[in-house]
Amino acid sequence: MSHEHLENEETIPFFPDQFMREFRVVIGIVVIAVIIGVLGMINPVGLEDPADPFNTPAHVKPEWYFLGLYQLLKFVPKTTGVLIPIVGVVILALWPFLDRKKETSRKPMKVRALVVAIGMIILIALTIWGGVS
Protein backbone atom coordinates (compact mmCIF):
# COMPACT_ATOMS: atom_id res chain seq x y z
CA MET A 1 0.00 0.00 0.00
CA SER A 2 1.22 3.56 0.54
CA HIS A 3 4.29 2.59 2.58
CA GLU A 4 5.50 0.34 -0.25
CA HIS A 5 5.42 2.66 -3.23
CA LEU A 6 6.84 5.56 -1.26
CA GLU A 7 10.25 3.98 -0.69
CA ASN A 8 11.69 5.60 -3.80
CA GLU A 9 9.89 8.91 -3.41
CA GLU A 10 11.06 12.17 -1.94
CA THR A 11 8.85 12.69 1.08
CA ILE A 12 8.33 14.99 4.04
CA PRO A 13 7.09 13.74 7.42
CA PHE A 14 3.48 14.41 8.29
CA PHE A 15 4.42 15.91 11.66
CA PRO A 16 5.66 18.60 11.91
CA ASP A 17 6.04 19.60 8.25
CA GLN A 18 2.75 18.70 6.55
CA PHE A 19 0.87 19.37 9.79
CA MET A 20 2.18 22.94 9.92
CA ARG A 21 1.32 23.49 6.23
CA GLU A 22 -2.24 22.31 6.87
CA PHE A 23 -2.38 24.31 10.10
CA ARG A 24 -1.54 27.49 8.18
CA VAL A 25 -4.34 26.72 5.69
CA VAL A 26 -6.71 26.23 8.62
CA ILE A 27 -5.65 29.55 10.16
CA GLY A 28 -6.21 31.18 6.78
CA ILE A 29 -9.77 29.84 6.62
CA VAL A 30 -10.42 30.95 10.20
CA VAL A 31 -9.23 34.47 9.28
CA ILE A 32 -11.55 34.49 6.27
CA ALA A 33 -14.42 33.26 8.46
CA VAL A 34 -13.76 36.04 10.99
CA ILE A 35 -13.75 38.62 8.17
CA ILE A 36 -17.06 37.20 6.91
CA GLY A 37 -18.37 37.42 10.48
CA VAL A 38 -17.37 41.05 10.87
CA LEU A 39 -18.89 41.91 7.49
CA GLY A 40 -21.99 39.97 8.58
CA MET A 41 -22.43 42.24 11.57
CA ILE A 42 -22.32 45.29 9.31
CA ASN A 43 -24.51 43.77 6.59
CA PRO A 44 -26.49 40.82 8.02
CA VAL A 45 -27.77 38.00 5.85
CA GLY A 46 -31.31 39.02 6.67
CA LEU A 47 -34.70 37.54 5.83
CA GLU A 48 -37.40 38.15 3.23
CA ASP A 49 -41.06 38.43 4.15
CA PRO A 50 -42.40 35.69 6.47
CA ALA A 51 -43.70 32.55 4.76
CA ASP A 52 -47.26 32.83 3.46
CA PRO A 53 -48.67 29.53 2.08
CA PHE A 54 -51.51 31.36 0.31
CA ASN A 55 -49.41 33.95 -1.45
CA THR A 56 -46.97 32.80 -4.12
CA PRO A 57 -44.39 35.49 -4.91
CA ALA A 58 -43.72 36.42 -8.52
CA HIS A 59 -40.20 35.03 -8.94
CA VAL A 60 -39.58 31.74 -7.12
CA LYS A 61 -36.01 30.55 -7.42
CA PRO A 62 -34.06 27.79 -5.67
CA GLU A 63 -30.60 28.30 -4.16
CA TRP A 64 -27.83 29.12 -6.61
CA TYR A 65 -26.46 25.56 -6.82
CA PHE A 66 -29.83 24.34 -8.18
CA LEU A 67 -30.38 27.27 -10.57
CA GLY A 68 -28.75 25.49 -13.52
CA LEU A 69 -31.03 22.48 -13.11
CA TYR A 70 -34.02 24.78 -12.67
CA GLN A 71 -33.26 26.59 -15.90
CA LEU A 72 -32.82 23.27 -17.72
CA LEU A 73 -36.23 22.12 -16.49
CA LYS A 74 -37.89 25.03 -18.30
CA PHE A 75 -36.97 23.55 -21.70
CA VAL A 76 -37.08 19.84 -21.07
CA PRO A 77 -40.28 17.94 -20.08
CA LYS A 78 -40.51 17.37 -16.34
CA THR A 79 -39.77 13.65 -16.24
CA THR A 80 -36.72 13.95 -18.50
CA GLY A 81 -35.57 17.00 -16.58
CA VAL A 82 -35.68 15.09 -13.31
CA LEU A 83 -34.00 11.99 -14.75
CA ILE A 84 -31.04 13.88 -16.25
CA PRO A 85 -29.39 14.79 -12.91
CA ILE A 86 -30.22 11.40 -11.34
CA VAL A 87 -28.72 9.45 -14.24
CA GLY A 88 -25.85 11.95 -14.35
CA VAL A 89 -24.98 11.40 -10.68
CA VAL A 90 -25.21 7.62 -11.08
CA ILE A 91 -22.83 7.71 -14.08
CA LEU A 92 -20.54 10.04 -12.17
CA ALA A 93 -20.48 7.73 -9.14
CA LEU A 94 -19.76 4.66 -11.27
CA TRP A 95 -17.24 6.40 -13.53
CA PRO A 96 -14.18 4.49 -12.24
CA PHE A 97 -15.87 1.28 -13.35
CA LEU A 98 -16.60 2.73 -16.81
CA ASP A 99 -13.13 4.16 -17.42
CA ARG A 100 -10.64 1.53 -16.37
CA LYS A 101 -7.90 1.98 -18.91
CA LYS A 102 -4.40 2.16 -17.43
CA GLU A 103 -2.75 5.44 -18.35
CA THR A 104 0.77 5.79 -19.70
CA SER A 105 0.85 9.34 -21.03
CA ARG A 106 -0.54 12.70 -19.97
CA LYS A 107 -2.90 12.94 -22.94
CA PRO A 108 -5.99 11.47 -21.17
CA MET A 109 -5.50 14.03 -18.43
CA LYS A 110 -5.62 16.85 -20.97
CA VAL A 111 -8.76 15.38 -22.56
CA ARG A 112 -10.44 15.21 -19.17
CA ALA A 113 -9.38 18.78 -18.40
CA LEU A 114 -11.04 19.91 -21.66
CA VAL A 115 -14.24 17.98 -20.88
CA VAL A 116 -14.34 19.55 -17.40
CA ALA A 117 -13.76 23.04 -18.83
CA ILE A 118 -16.61 22.69 -21.34
CA GLY A 119 -18.91 21.11 -18.75
CA MET A 120 -18.24 23.83 -16.19
CA ILE A 121 -18.81 26.60 -18.75
CA ILE A 122 -22.18 25.09 -19.68
CA LEU A 123 -23.12 24.62 -16.02
CA ILE A 124 -22.08 28.16 -15.03
CA ALA A 125 -23.87 29.64 -18.04
CA LEU A 126 -27.07 27.76 -17.15
CA THR A 127 -26.76 28.89 -13.53
CA ILE A 128 -26.32 32.57 -14.45
CA TRP A 129 -29.18 32.33 -16.93
CA GLY A 130 -31.34 30.75 -14.23
CA GLY A 131 -30.37 33.55 -11.91
CA VAL A 132 -31.31 36.45 -14.16
CA SER A 133 -34.51 35.07 -15.71
Binding site: G40, G81, A93
Partner: protein, 352 residues
Amino acid sequence: MRKQLGRLPIHGSLQKVFLFSFILTTILLASLTFHVLANQSPPQNQLSASTSAQTPSLTSVEYLLKNSLQPQRSISATLPPPKQDPCLHCHITGENKNLWTPLARWAIFGTMGLIFAFGMYRTGSVILNRKTWKPLTNRTVEWVDERYEISEPLTKVLRKPVPKYALRWFYCLGGITAFLFVVQGVTGIMLAFYYKPTPEAAYASIQFIETQVRFGAAIRAIHHWAANGMIIMCTAHMLRVFIMGAYKNPREMNWVSGVLLLVLTLAFGFTGYLLPWDQRAFWATTVGSEIAGSIPIIGNLALVFLRVGWNVTGETLSRFYALHVIIIPILTVTFMFSHFLMVRRQGVMRPL
Protein backbone atom coordinates in the same frame (compact mmCIF):
# COMPACT_ATOMS: atom_id res chain seq x y z
CA MET B 1 12.73 9.37 19.12
CA ARG B 2 10.62 10.00 22.20
CA LYS B 3 12.33 13.33 22.85
CA GLN B 4 11.53 14.40 19.31
CA LEU B 5 7.88 13.51 19.74
CA GLY B 6 7.45 15.91 22.62
CA ARG B 7 8.94 18.85 20.76
CA LEU B 8 6.62 21.60 19.61
CA PRO B 9 6.89 22.39 15.88
CA ILE B 10 7.77 25.98 16.79
CA HIS B 11 11.32 27.08 17.41
CA GLY B 12 12.23 30.14 19.40
CA SER B 13 10.82 31.43 22.66
CA LEU B 14 9.23 34.52 21.14
CA GLN B 15 7.09 32.41 18.86
CA LYS B 16 6.04 30.27 21.82
CA VAL B 17 5.03 33.42 23.71
CA PHE B 18 2.99 34.50 20.71
CA LEU B 19 1.36 31.08 20.47
CA PHE B 20 0.36 30.95 24.14
CA SER B 21 -0.91 34.52 24.19
CA PHE B 22 -2.87 33.81 21.02
CA ILE B 23 -4.51 30.78 22.63
CA LEU B 24 -5.21 32.76 25.79
CA THR B 25 -6.76 35.67 23.85
CA THR B 26 -8.90 33.25 21.84
CA ILE B 27 -10.25 31.61 24.98
CA LEU B 28 -11.03 34.98 26.54
CA LEU B 29 -12.75 36.32 23.42
CA ALA B 30 -14.69 33.07 23.04
CA SER B 31 -15.94 33.40 26.60
CA LEU B 32 -17.22 36.88 25.76
CA THR B 33 -19.08 35.88 22.65
CA PHE B 34 -22.50 34.65 21.91
CA HIS B 35 -24.48 35.73 24.89
CA VAL B 36 -27.90 37.34 24.85
CA LEU B 37 -27.56 41.13 25.04
CA ALA B 38 -30.40 41.52 27.51
CA ASN B 39 -30.41 44.22 30.14
CA GLN B 40 -28.13 42.69 32.75
CA SER B 41 -28.68 44.84 35.88
CA PRO B 42 -31.28 43.39 38.27
CA PRO B 43 -34.49 45.33 38.82
CA GLN B 44 -33.97 47.97 41.45
CA ASN B 45 -36.85 47.49 43.87
CA GLN B 46 -37.51 49.72 46.87
CA LEU B 47 -36.23 47.27 49.48
CA SER B 48 -32.74 46.79 48.10
CA ALA B 49 -32.38 50.49 47.39
CA SER B 50 -33.09 51.41 51.01
CA THR B 51 -30.81 48.76 52.51
CA SER B 52 -27.88 49.71 50.29
CA ALA B 53 -28.30 53.34 51.30
CA GLN B 54 -28.10 52.50 54.98
CA THR B 55 -25.28 49.94 55.06
CA PRO B 56 -21.62 50.76 54.20
CA SER B 57 -20.90 49.70 50.62
CA LEU B 58 -17.97 47.35 51.18
CA THR B 59 -17.20 44.16 49.29
CA SER B 60 -17.09 41.06 51.44
CA VAL B 61 -13.28 40.96 50.92
CA GLU B 62 -12.82 44.51 52.22
CA TYR B 63 -15.09 43.72 55.12
CA LEU B 64 -13.05 40.65 56.06
CA LEU B 65 -9.74 42.52 55.77
CA LYS B 66 -11.04 45.32 57.92
CA ASN B 67 -12.18 42.94 60.61
CA SER B 68 -9.22 40.57 60.52
CA LEU B 69 -6.74 43.34 61.31
CA GLN B 70 -8.09 43.37 64.86
CA PRO B 71 -5.92 41.18 67.14
CA GLN B 72 -7.16 38.33 69.39
CA ARG B 73 -10.23 37.83 67.23
CA SER B 74 -10.74 35.03 64.74
CA ILE B 75 -12.85 35.38 61.66
CA SER B 76 -15.56 33.23 63.18
CA ALA B 77 -15.89 35.66 66.07
CA THR B 78 -16.79 38.59 63.84
CA LEU B 79 -20.32 39.55 63.04
CA PRO B 80 -21.74 38.37 59.69
CA PRO B 81 -21.35 40.95 56.92
CA PRO B 82 -24.20 43.45 56.65
CA LYS B 83 -26.86 42.99 53.99
CA GLN B 84 -25.56 44.31 50.70
CA ASP B 85 -26.26 44.22 47.00
CA PRO B 86 -25.53 40.56 46.03
CA CYS B 87 -23.80 41.78 42.88
CA LEU B 88 -20.99 43.06 45.10
CA HIS B 89 -20.17 39.45 45.87
CA CYS B 90 -18.36 39.32 42.53
CA HIS B 91 -18.19 42.93 41.38
CA ILE B 92 -16.45 45.97 42.79
CA THR B 93 -18.62 48.87 43.92
CA GLY B 94 -19.66 51.24 41.21
CA GLU B 95 -18.46 49.24 38.20
CA ASN B 96 -20.54 48.19 35.19
CA LYS B 97 -22.36 44.96 36.07
CA ASN B 98 -21.47 42.97 32.97
CA LEU B 99 -22.11 39.26 33.52
CA TRP B 100 -18.70 38.23 32.16
CA THR B 101 -16.43 40.67 34.06
CA PRO B 102 -15.69 38.43 37.09
CA LEU B 103 -15.02 35.45 34.83
CA ALA B 104 -12.68 37.48 32.65
CA ARG B 105 -10.94 38.73 35.78
CA TRP B 106 -10.51 35.25 37.21
CA ALA B 107 -9.31 33.97 33.85
CA ILE B 108 -6.72 36.68 33.23
CA PHE B 109 -5.32 37.07 36.72
CA GLY B 110 -5.75 33.38 37.54
CA THR B 111 -3.76 32.37 34.47
CA MET B 112 -1.08 34.96 35.25
CA GLY B 113 -0.93 33.64 38.80
CA LEU B 114 -0.66 30.03 37.68
CA ILE B 115 2.10 30.91 35.20
CA PHE B 116 3.92 32.79 37.95
CA ALA B 117 3.53 29.88 40.42
CA PHE B 118 4.77 27.43 37.80
CA GLY B 119 7.73 29.71 37.07
CA MET B 120 8.64 29.78 40.77
CA TYR B 121 8.42 25.98 40.96
CA ARG B 122 10.57 25.56 37.85
CA THR B 123 13.21 28.01 39.07
CA GLY B 124 13.32 26.29 42.45
CA SER B 125 13.65 22.88 40.85
CA VAL B 126 16.53 24.01 38.60
CA ILE B 127 18.41 25.74 41.45
CA LEU B 128 18.03 22.89 43.92
CA ASN B 129 18.56 19.94 41.58
CA ARG B 130 21.11 21.67 39.35
CA LYS B 131 19.63 19.98 36.28
CA THR B 132 18.20 21.43 33.06
CA TRP B 133 14.44 21.65 33.11
CA LYS B 134 12.81 18.94 30.99
CA PRO B 135 10.07 20.68 28.94
CA LEU B 136 6.47 20.03 29.91
CA THR B 137 5.58 18.57 26.50
CA ASN B 138 8.36 15.97 26.86
CA ARG B 139 7.19 15.17 30.38
CA THR B 140 3.55 14.73 29.25
CA VAL B 141 4.47 12.41 26.39
CA GLU B 142 6.69 10.32 28.66
CA TRP B 143 3.97 10.14 31.33
CA VAL B 144 1.42 8.87 28.80
CA ASP B 145 3.94 6.55 27.16
CA GLU B 146 4.86 4.89 30.48
CA ARG B 147 1.24 3.93 30.96
CA TYR B 148 -0.05 3.24 27.45
CA GLU B 149 3.03 2.57 25.29
CA ILE B 150 1.73 4.79 22.52
CA SER B 151 5.19 5.72 21.28
CA GLU B 152 5.24 3.28 18.37
CA PRO B 153 1.76 3.78 16.90
CA LEU B 154 2.00 7.52 17.54
CA THR B 155 5.32 7.71 15.71
CA LYS B 156 3.88 5.74 12.82
CA VAL B 157 0.91 8.11 12.56
CA LEU B 158 2.83 11.32 13.05
CA ARG B 159 5.84 10.47 10.91
CA LYS B 160 3.81 9.16 7.96
CA PRO B 161 5.68 10.23 4.84
CA VAL B 162 3.91 12.66 2.53
CA PRO B 163 5.28 12.58 -1.04
CA LYS B 164 6.54 15.87 -2.39
CA TYR B 165 4.32 15.68 -5.47
CA ALA B 166 1.32 15.99 -3.11
CA LEU B 167 2.37 19.42 -1.89
CA ARG B 168 0.82 21.51 -4.67
CA TRP B 169 -2.05 23.84 -3.79
CA PHE B 170 -4.84 21.85 -5.48
CA TYR B 171 -4.15 18.90 -3.17
CA CYS B 172 -5.49 21.03 -0.28
CA LEU B 173 -9.05 21.32 -1.64
CA GLY B 174 -10.34 18.18 0.06
CA GLY B 175 -8.92 19.19 3.43
CA ILE B 176 -10.42 22.66 3.03
CA THR B 177 -13.82 21.06 2.42
CA ALA B 178 -13.43 18.96 5.55
CA PHE B 179 -12.48 21.98 7.66
CA LEU B 180 -15.41 23.98 6.28
CA PHE B 181 -17.62 21.10 7.43
CA VAL B 182 -16.19 21.53 10.93
CA VAL B 183 -16.84 25.30 10.73
CA GLN B 184 -20.43 24.59 9.68
CA GLY B 185 -20.82 22.14 12.55
CA VAL B 186 -19.59 24.64 15.15
CA THR B 187 -21.59 27.61 13.81
CA GLY B 188 -24.59 25.31 13.28
CA ILE B 189 -24.52 24.23 16.94
CA MET B 190 -24.33 27.86 18.04
CA LEU B 191 -27.31 28.72 15.84
CA ALA B 192 -29.20 25.66 17.12
CA PHE B 193 -28.88 27.08 20.65
CA TYR B 194 -31.31 29.85 19.70
CA TYR B 195 -33.22 28.64 16.61
CA LYS B 196 -36.79 27.40 17.13
CA PRO B 197 -37.94 24.85 14.51
CA THR B 198 -41.66 25.68 14.41
CA PRO B 199 -43.45 27.71 11.71
CA GLU B 200 -44.65 30.17 14.35
CA ALA B 201 -41.29 30.86 15.97
CA ALA B 202 -38.62 30.11 13.33
CA TYR B 203 -38.63 33.50 11.59
CA ALA B 204 -38.63 35.44 14.85
CA SER B 205 -35.87 33.25 16.34
CA ILE B 206 -33.60 34.08 13.40
CA GLN B 207 -34.37 37.76 13.80
CA PHE B 208 -33.52 37.33 17.49
CA ILE B 209 -30.21 35.71 16.59
CA GLU B 210 -29.33 38.52 14.21
CA THR B 211 -30.27 41.38 16.52
CA GLN B 212 -30.23 40.26 20.17
CA VAL B 213 -27.53 37.62 20.40
CA ARG B 214 -23.94 38.83 20.78
CA PHE B 215 -22.17 38.09 17.44
CA GLY B 216 -25.33 36.27 16.28
CA ALA B 217 -25.30 38.08 12.93
CA ALA B 218 -21.62 37.13 12.52
CA ILE B 219 -22.25 33.43 13.25
CA ARG B 220 -25.19 33.34 10.86
CA ALA B 221 -23.19 35.07 8.11
CA ILE B 222 -20.33 32.58 8.54
CA HIS B 223 -22.77 29.65 8.41
CA HIS B 224 -24.45 31.06 5.28
CA TRP B 225 -21.26 31.81 3.31
CA ALA B 226 -19.26 28.77 4.46
CA ALA B 227 -22.13 26.62 3.16
CA ASN B 228 -21.65 28.06 -0.32
CA GLY B 229 -17.88 27.78 0.07
CA MET B 230 -18.12 24.12 1.07
CA ILE B 231 -20.13 23.24 -2.05
CA ILE B 232 -17.62 25.09 -4.28
CA MET B 233 -14.59 23.45 -2.61
CA CYS B 234 -16.20 20.00 -2.72
CA THR B 235 -16.86 20.38 -6.46
CA ALA B 236 -13.36 21.76 -7.07
CA HIS B 237 -11.83 18.81 -5.19
CA MET B 238 -13.91 16.38 -7.23
CA LEU B 239 -12.83 18.03 -10.50
CA ARG B 240 -9.16 17.91 -9.44
CA VAL B 241 -9.41 14.19 -8.69
CA PHE B 242 -11.31 13.62 -11.94
CA ILE B 243 -8.82 15.50 -14.12
CA MET B 244 -5.84 13.76 -12.55
CA GLY B 245 -7.47 10.35 -12.95
CA ALA B 246 -7.06 9.55 -9.28
CA TYR B 247 -10.35 7.65 -9.26
CA LYS B 248 -8.88 4.67 -11.10
CA ASN B 249 -7.89 1.30 -9.67
CA PRO B 250 -7.38 0.88 -6.68
CA ARG B 251 -9.23 4.08 -5.67
CA GLU B 252 -12.73 3.39 -7.06
CA MET B 253 -14.56 3.18 -3.72
CA ASN B 254 -12.93 6.39 -2.60
CA TRP B 255 -14.46 8.14 -5.60
CA VAL B 256 -17.89 6.60 -4.93
CA SER B 257 -17.84 7.78 -1.31
CA GLY B 258 -16.73 11.18 -2.55
CA VAL B 259 -19.68 11.54 -4.94
CA LEU B 260 -21.94 10.49 -2.10
CA LEU B 261 -20.42 13.22 0.06
CA LEU B 262 -21.11 15.77 -2.68
CA VAL B 263 -24.77 14.69 -2.81
CA LEU B 264 -24.96 14.91 1.01
CA THR B 265 -23.48 18.43 0.90
CA LEU B 266 -26.18 19.51 -1.57
CA ALA B 267 -28.78 17.85 0.66
CA PHE B 268 -27.41 19.91 3.58
CA GLY B 269 -27.98 23.04 1.52
CA PHE B 270 -31.47 21.99 0.46
CA THR B 271 -32.65 21.12 3.99
CA GLY B 272 -31.00 24.10 5.64
CA TYR B 273 -32.52 26.52 3.16
CA LEU B 274 -36.06 25.92 4.47
CA LEU B 275 -35.23 26.68 8.09
CA PRO B 276 -35.63 30.51 8.06
CA TRP B 277 -39.27 29.96 6.99
CA ASP B 278 -39.47 33.11 4.89
CA GLN B 279 -41.14 33.42 1.48
CA ARG B 280 -38.02 32.45 -0.46
CA ALA B 281 -37.38 29.38 1.71
CA PHE B 282 -41.00 28.22 1.68
CA TRP B 283 -41.59 28.52 -2.05
CA ALA B 284 -38.14 27.27 -3.10
CA THR B 285 -38.80 24.14 -1.03
CA THR B 286 -42.28 23.81 -2.56
CA VAL B 287 -40.82 23.98 -6.07
CA GLY B 288 -37.91 21.69 -5.15
CA SER B 289 -40.14 18.97 -3.69
CA GLU B 290 -42.47 19.37 -6.68
CA ILE B 291 -39.54 18.50 -8.93
CA ALA B 292 -38.78 15.48 -6.74
CA GLY B 293 -42.43 14.52 -7.20
CA SER B 294 -41.97 14.17 -10.96
CA ILE B 295 -39.49 11.29 -10.63
CA PRO B 296 -41.13 8.34 -12.42
CA ILE B 297 -42.54 5.49 -10.31
CA ILE B 298 -41.38 6.77 -6.89
CA GLY B 299 -42.27 10.43 -7.43
CA ASN B 300 -45.31 10.59 -5.16
CA LEU B 301 -43.53 8.61 -2.46
CA ALA B 302 -40.59 11.00 -2.58
CA LEU B 303 -42.86 14.04 -2.47
CA VAL B 304 -44.90 12.80 0.50
CA PHE B 305 -41.76 11.68 2.32
CA LEU B 306 -40.12 15.08 1.92
CA ARG B 307 -43.18 17.19 2.66
CA VAL B 308 -44.74 14.89 5.30
CA GLY B 309 -48.04 15.16 3.48
CA TRP B 310 -49.03 16.82 0.24
CA ASN B 311 -48.15 20.39 1.23
CA VAL B 312 -45.24 22.13 2.89
CA THR B 313 -46.26 22.60 6.53
CA GLY B 314 -44.76 22.72 10.00
CA GLU B 315 -44.27 18.97 9.74
CA THR B 316 -42.02 19.56 6.74
CA LEU B 317 -39.99 22.03 8.77
CA SER B 318 -39.49 19.52 11.60
CA ARG B 319 -38.45 16.80 9.20
CA PHE B 320 -36.00 19.06 7.35
CA TYR B 321 -34.57 20.23 10.68
CA ALA B 322 -34.04 16.63 11.84
CA LEU B 323 -32.46 15.76 8.49
CA HIS B 324 -30.23 18.84 8.57
CA VAL B 325 -29.05 18.52 12.19
CA ILE B 326 -28.98 14.77 12.88
CA ILE B 327 -29.32 12.41 9.92
CA ILE B 328 -27.24 14.10 7.21
CA PRO B 329 -24.42 15.01 9.66
CA ILE B 330 -24.19 11.38 10.87
CA LEU B 331 -24.07 10.12 7.28
CA THR B 332 -21.53 12.77 6.29
CA VAL B 333 -19.22 11.97 9.22
CA THR B 334 -19.45 8.25 8.45
CA PHE B 335 -18.58 8.65 4.78
CA MET B 336 -15.88 11.27 5.51
CA PHE B 337 -14.29 8.85 7.99
CA SER B 338 -14.19 6.05 5.42
CA HIS B 339 -12.99 8.50 2.74
CA PHE B 340 -10.04 9.66 4.94
CA LEU B 341 -9.18 6.10 6.00
CA MET B 342 -8.98 4.98 2.38
CA VAL B 343 -6.75 7.91 1.39
CA ARG B 344 -4.52 7.27 4.39
CA ARG B 345 -4.18 3.57 3.59
CA GLN B 346 -3.62 3.91 -0.14
CA GLY B 347 -1.68 7.15 -0.19
CA VAL B 348 -1.89 9.96 -2.74
CA MET B 349 -1.69 8.80 -6.34
CA ARG B 350 1.57 9.49 -8.14
CA PRO B 351 0.82 11.76 -11.11
CA LEU B 352 2.21 10.79 -14.48
